[in-house]
C-alpha cells in the first residue's frame, strides 16, 4: 500500500513539473506583453481622460506621475549587467524622475539575440507604447501594417526640441522621415557629425620611425618605403584585424571605395556603384598583392582578429597597421605594462602619390536605432510619450542622457567643462562600466551622443588618432555612403535577398584570390562580366531607386 501511495505521489510530482514547465515557457515567450496589458487596462479612458484633459506642458519634470509608459529597448541603452531590474538602474529610473512620468522599461533577456527578441515582441498581442530598434529601412511598411504611429502632424507641437534639431541638418531631416515624408521616430545622432563614426584608421610605431629617421608616411609610396624599412630592420610586416580592414581599409588612396566586403557607394554623379567592379579597386588589390608577394603583408592576415593582432603588436612583429581607437588604447597599455618601449600613434590615412583620397571610413553620425511610438499607445498618452522622447534633445535632457544627473554623477569644473564626480571615477567596476551605468548614449540611444563623453571615455592617444583620421578628411568620410535612412519596398527587399548574398560571396572570394595571387588580374573583365550575369545591374538599380527617393524627400 505504502509503495502504491509513493508511486502515485511520484507521478503527481512529475505532472507538476511538466505543468510548471508549460507555464514558465509561456511567461518567457510572452515577456514584455503581460506588463503592457496591465498598463493598457490600468489606464482606461476615465482616469486618463481627466489626466490629459487637464494636461498642459509646463516643463520637465511633467506632472504626470500616474501615467505609465512602457518602453522596449532592443540594444544600445539596455540594462547594464550589474543591475537585475530597471528600478535599480540609475539611468533608467533617473529618466522617469527627470521627465516626471512612470516609465516601465522592457529589455531582451540578457544573452538573447536582440533581433529575435524584437520579433517575439512584435508577434505578441500587445505592443509596448514605445520601442527602440533598427526599423528605419522598414518604417513605411510598419506604418502601413499598423505597428507604429505616424507622428508627422504632432512633431512640431509636442517635440519642439527634436524637430528643431533635425531641421538643423538636411541629412538628419531626410533620414528621419519615410519616402512619403512621414515623421515617425527619434533617432541616434553623434554630436559633431561623424567623428566617432570614423573610429578606425592607420596606426604606426613612432619609435621605429624615429630610430630609422623616417617621416610619417603620407602616400602609398611612403608606405612602401616604411614597410620595407621596418621589414629589413625589425622583420616586421603589415597586419591588422582582418574584419576591420575588410570593409574599406585604405581604399581611398587608390580612388576606390571598398576592400573585401561587398560595398556600395555613391559616386560623384550621384550614382550607386559597386566598389568591387571598378578599375580603381583592381589597382588597390594589385598593391595588396604586391605586398603579399614580397612578404610585406602578413601571410596570416586573413585569419587575424583583434586578439591576434594585439599579440602581434606586443611581440613587435608589426610596425604599421590599421585598427580602432579602442584597440589602440589596448596596444599602448600593453606596451607600457610590458615595457617594450613601443610607441603606437595614430597615422593619417594614406593618399595616392598624386594626392588622391576618394574616401575614408566613416559615416553621417546617424545610428540605425530609432525610438518609435506604437499604435498601442492611446491618443491620451501620445503627447506625454512625445514629450518624454523629446527630453533627450533639450539642453537639459542632453546632459542627462550623456552624463547623468548634475551634482550627482557630474558637475562643471573650473573651466565650465563637464567633469565626473568621484561616484563615477572611483567606481569599483572601472570607469568605462561606471559611465555605462549612468549614460544612455554610450553605444546608441534616441538622443545625441556628446563628443565630450567619448573624450572622457577614451585614452588621450586614441582621441588624438581619431582627430587625425577624421578632421583632415571630414569632406570624404560620409558623402560616399549609402545612408541608413533609405527605404525599400517589400518586392525590392525580396529581390535583393535573392541576389545580394551570392554576389557578395563571389566578390569576397575573388578579392582574397586577387591578393594571394591565386587569381590573375588578366581575368578582371570576365569577373566584372560574371557580376553582371549574377544580377549586379538589378541590385544597383534597386538601390539607385531607393537613394533617389531618399534624396527627393
Amino acid at each position: 500500500m505504502a509503495k502504491r501511495v509513493l508511486s502515485i505521489l511520484l507521478v503527481l510530482s512529475l505532472f507538476v513539473f511538466v505543468l510548471a514547465g508549460c507555464s514558465t515557457s509561456k511567461t518567457t515567450t510572452d515577456e514584455g506583453t503581460d506588463s503592457t496589458t496591465d498598463t493598457q487596462t490600468d489606464t482606461p479612458t476615465d482616469t486618463d481622460d481627466e489626466e490629459t484633459e487637464g494636461f498642459a506642458f509646463t516643463g520637465y519634470p511633467m506632472d504626470a506621475k500616474d501615467v505609465k509608459l512602457t518602453w522596449w529597448v532592443g540594444h544600445g541603452f539596455t540594462l547594464h549587467e550589474s543591475y537585475a531590474s530597471y528600478e535599480e538602474s540609475p539611468f533608467h529610473s533617473g529618466l522617469s524622475e527627470h521627465v516626471g512620468v512612470d516609465i516601465e522599461w522592457q529589455f531582451p533577456t540578457a544573452g538573447t539575440d536582440g533581433a529575435q527578441a524584437f520579433n517575439l515582441m512584435l508577434a505578441s498581442d500587445t505592443l509596448p507604447d514605445i520601442f527602440y530598434w533598427n526599423v528605419m529601412r522598414d518604417a513605411e511598411r510598419y506604418i502601413d501594417e499598423g505597428v507604429i504611429r505616424d507622428l508627422t502632424e504632432y512633431m512640431p507641437k509636442y517635440s519642439p526640441a527634436y524637430y528643431k534639431f533635425i531641421q538643423s541638418n538636411e541629412i538628419y531631416d531626410k533620414s528621419m522621415k519615410t519616402d512619403s515624408g512621414k515623421y515617425y521616430g527619434y533617432g541616434f545622432f553623434r554630436e559633431d557629425g561623424g567623428w566617432n563614426d570614423t573610429y578606425q584608421g592607420p596606426v604606426v610605431r613612432q619609435d621605429w620611425l624615429d630610430e630609422l629617421g623616417l617621416e610619417s608616411p603620407e602616400t602609398i609610396s611612403d608606405w612602401d618605403n616604411v614597410l620595407r624599412a621596418f621589414n629589413e630592420k625589425y622583420g616586421a610586416v603589415l597586419t591588422f584585424p582582418w574584419y576591420r580592414f575588410k570593409s574599406t581599409g585604405i581604399s581611398g588612396a587608390f580612388g576606390a571605395y571598398g576592400a573585401i566586403d561587398f560595398q556600395l557607394y555613391i559616386d560623384d554623379n550621384g550614382k550607386v556603384q559597386l566598389a568591387q567592379a571598378q578599375e580603381e579597386w583592381k589597382n588597390y588589390m594589385a598593391k595588396l598583392n604586391e605586398w603579399w608577394k614580397t612578404g610585406l603583408l602578413d601571410q596570416d592576415v586573413m585569419t587575424t582578429d583583434d586578439d591576434i593582432a594585439r599579440t602581434k603588436a606586443l611581440n613587435g612583429v608589426v610596425g604599421l597597421s590599421y585598427t580602432s581607437m579602442g584597440q589602440l588604447t589596448n596596444w599602448i597599455s600593453d606596451a607600457n605594462s610590458a615595457g617594450t618601449g613601443a610607441k603606437w600613434v595614430g597615422l593619417q590615412y594614406p593618399k595616392g602619390d598624386d594626392g588622391t583620397l576618394s574616401m575614408v571610413f566613416g559615416g553621417y553620425g546617424i545610428g540605425e536605432g530609432i525610438s518609435v511610438i506604437t499604435t498601442s499607445c492611446p491618443d491620451e498618452k501620445l503627447e506625454i510619450a512625445m514629450r518624454v522622447l523629446d527630453y533627450a534633445y533639450t539642453d537639459e535632457g542632453h546632459l542627462y542622457w550623456n552624463f547623468g544627473t548634475k551634482g550627482v554623477t557630474w558637475d562643471y569644473d573650473e573651466n565650465g567643462e563637464v567633469a565626473y564626480t568621484e561616484l563615477v571615477t572611483e567606481d569599483p567596476d572601472g570607469l568605462n562600466n561606471a559611465i555605462a551605468k549612468y549614460s544612455g548614449s554610450v553605444w546608441s540611444g534616441s538622443c545625441i551622443q556628446a563628443t565630450k563623453l567619448l573624450y572622457l571615455k577614451n585614452s588621450e592617444e586614441s582621441i588624438k588618432a581619431n582627430d587625425l583620421w577624421f578632421y583632415p578628411n571630414e569632406e570624404v568620410t560620409a558623402k560616399w555612403k549609402l545612408t541608413n535612412g533609405i527605404t525599400l519596398t517589400v518586392e525590392e527587399s525580396n529581390e535583393l535577398d535573392d541576389l545580394v548574398s551570392a554576389i557578395s560571396t563571389y566578390v569576397s572570394e575573388k578579392a582574397v584570390n586577387y591578393i594571394t595571387g591565386e587569381e590573375s588580374f588578366d581575368g578582371f573583365n570576365d569577373y566584372v562580366a560574371q557580376l553582371d550575369k549574377m544580377g549586379l545591374q538589378r541590385v544597383l538599380e534597386i538601390y539607385q531607386g531607393a537613394y533617389d527617393r531618399f534624396m527627393a524627400r
Binding site: 508511486s7 508577434a123 505597428v147 582582418w242 596570416d300 586573413m302 586578439d307 535583393l496 551570392a502 582574397v512
Partner: protein, 317 residues
C-alpha cells in the same frame, strides 16, 4: 483451463475499439498516468511547433502573424535551389559532416575499448578525465587556439619546417580545412562521447570473459568476440541517430575558422544562410532551408535504419 482462456480472447475481440481502450485503461490506469506527461510534453514542444513550418511557404511578418502573412508558395525553395552556390554548399555540408562521421564516430569507440583494457584504475580515471576535459572548453576558445596553432609561425608550421616543409598558415590552405575541422572536433569531443560506450561496457557479463579465457582466447579475441558484439546495439543506435543529422553542420565553428580564402571548401548551408540573415531577418527563407535539411536528414535516418535492420538486426523503429 486452456479452453477458457481462448474463450475470453474471443470475447474481447467482440468489443469495439473504444471499449477495448477503456478496458485497457482501467487495467493499466497507472501506466497511462505515467506516460501522460510525456505525451503532453511531446504535443506541446514537438508537434505543436511543427505548425510553424508553414511559414516556409509564406512571406512571414512577425506582426501580421501566420494568419495574415502573404502566401508565396515555393518561392523560397526555388531561391535556394537556384542559388549559384547551392551545389557547392550541399557538397561542402555533406563532405564536412561525412568526414566527421567517418573519423569522428569510431574515435570514442576506440578510446572506450582502449580504456577498457587498462588494468590500473588510477591510470584509467586520469586518462578519462584528461580526454573529456576539452569538452568543457568553450568553442570560441578552442577555435582561437586552433587559429593560433595554425599560423605561419605557429607550432604546426614549425614542425613542418623542422621536417623540411614550408612555413604556412594552415587555415588559409583549402587542402587542410577538413583535417583541421575534423581533428579538432575529435579532440574536443572524444572523451565525452566515450562515456556512453564505457557505460555499455560495464553491462557486459564478466563471466563471458572468464569462459573465453578458459577456452584460451587472447585479449584481441576477447575484444572482437565479446566486447564489440556487446557494444554493437549501442553503436548502431548512435550511428543511426548520427546519420539523421547529416546536414546539420553548425555554423558557429565554421564561422570561427573559415575565411574568404577557404569559402570554396568551408562554406556550408548554415553559414551561407547566416550571412544572408545579416542582411535581412529572413524567417521564411531560413525555415524553408531548415525544412529541406530535415527532409534530407529523415531520408538518411530511415535509410540507415533499414540497412541496419537488414544487416545487424538492430534498429530504432
Amino acid at each position: 483451463m486452456i479452453k477458457e482462456s481462448s474463450i475470453t480472447t474471443k470475447r474481447i475481440n467482440h468489443y469495439s475499439l473504444t471499449q477495448t481502450l477503456s478496458r485497457d485503461f482501467k487495467i493499466n490506469k497507472y501506466k497511462y498516468l505515467i506516460i501522460l506527461p510525456i505525451i503532453v510534453y511531446l504535443i506541446l514542444f514537438a508537434y505543436k511547433p511543427m505548425y510553424g513550418i508553414i511559414i516556409a511557404f509564406m512571406d512571414y511578418r512577425p506582426h501580421l502573424g501566420i494568419a495574415n502573412s502573404k502566401w508565396v508558395g515555393l518561392r523560397h525553395f526555388k531561391t535556394f535551389f537556384n542559388d549559384v552556390y547551392f551545389w557547392r554548399l550541399l557538397r561542402n555540408t555533406v563532405s564536412i559532416s561525412g568526414l566527421n562521421i567517418l573519423f569522428g564516430f569510431p574515435a570514442p569507440i576506440i578510446l572506450a575499448l582502449l580504456l577498457n583494457e587498462i588494468q590500473s584504475s588510477w591510470f584509467k580515471r586520469t586518462v578519462q578525465t584528461i580526454t573529456y576535459m576539452p569538452y568543457f572548453i568553450s568553442l570560441v576558445v578552442v577555435c582561437s587556439l586552433v587559429k593560433i596553432y595554425c599560423q605561419s609561425n605557429g607550432i604546426f608550421s614549425q614542425i613542418a619546417v623542422a621536417l623540411g616543409g614550408n612555413a604556412q598558415n594552415f587555415l588559409m590552405n583549402t587542402k587542410y580545412f577538413y583535417p583541421i575541422y575534423v581533428i579538432s572536433d575529435i579532440w574536443k569531443n572524444v572523451g565525452w562521447n566515450s562515456i556512453i560506450y564505457l557505460a555499455a561496457l560495464s553491462s557486459i557479463d564478466q563471466e563471458q570473459y572468464e569462459a573465453a579465457k578458459i577456452d584460451g582466447a587472447g585479449r584481441f579475441r576477447q575484444m572482437f568476440h565479446i566486447t564489440l558484439p556487446g557494444l554493437l546495439p549501442t553503436i548502431m543506435v548512435l550511428f543511426i541517430l548520427r546519420m539523421g543529422g547529416l546536414l546539420n553542420v553548425g555554423y558557429e565553428k565554421i564561422l570561427l575558422l573559415y575565411s574568404e580564402v577557404t569559402y570554396e571548401v568551408a562554406d556550408v548551408i548554415s553559414t551561407y544562410v547566416y550571412r544572408k540573415g545579416i542582411l535581412n531577418a529572413a524567417f521564411s527563407y531560413s525555415t524553408a532551408v531548415g525544412l529541406f535539411n530535415s527532409v534530407v536528414n529523415v531520408f538518411f535516418l530511415v535509410l540507415t535504419n533499414t540497412i541496419s535492420k537488414k544487416t545487424t538486426e538492430m534498429h530504432l523503429f
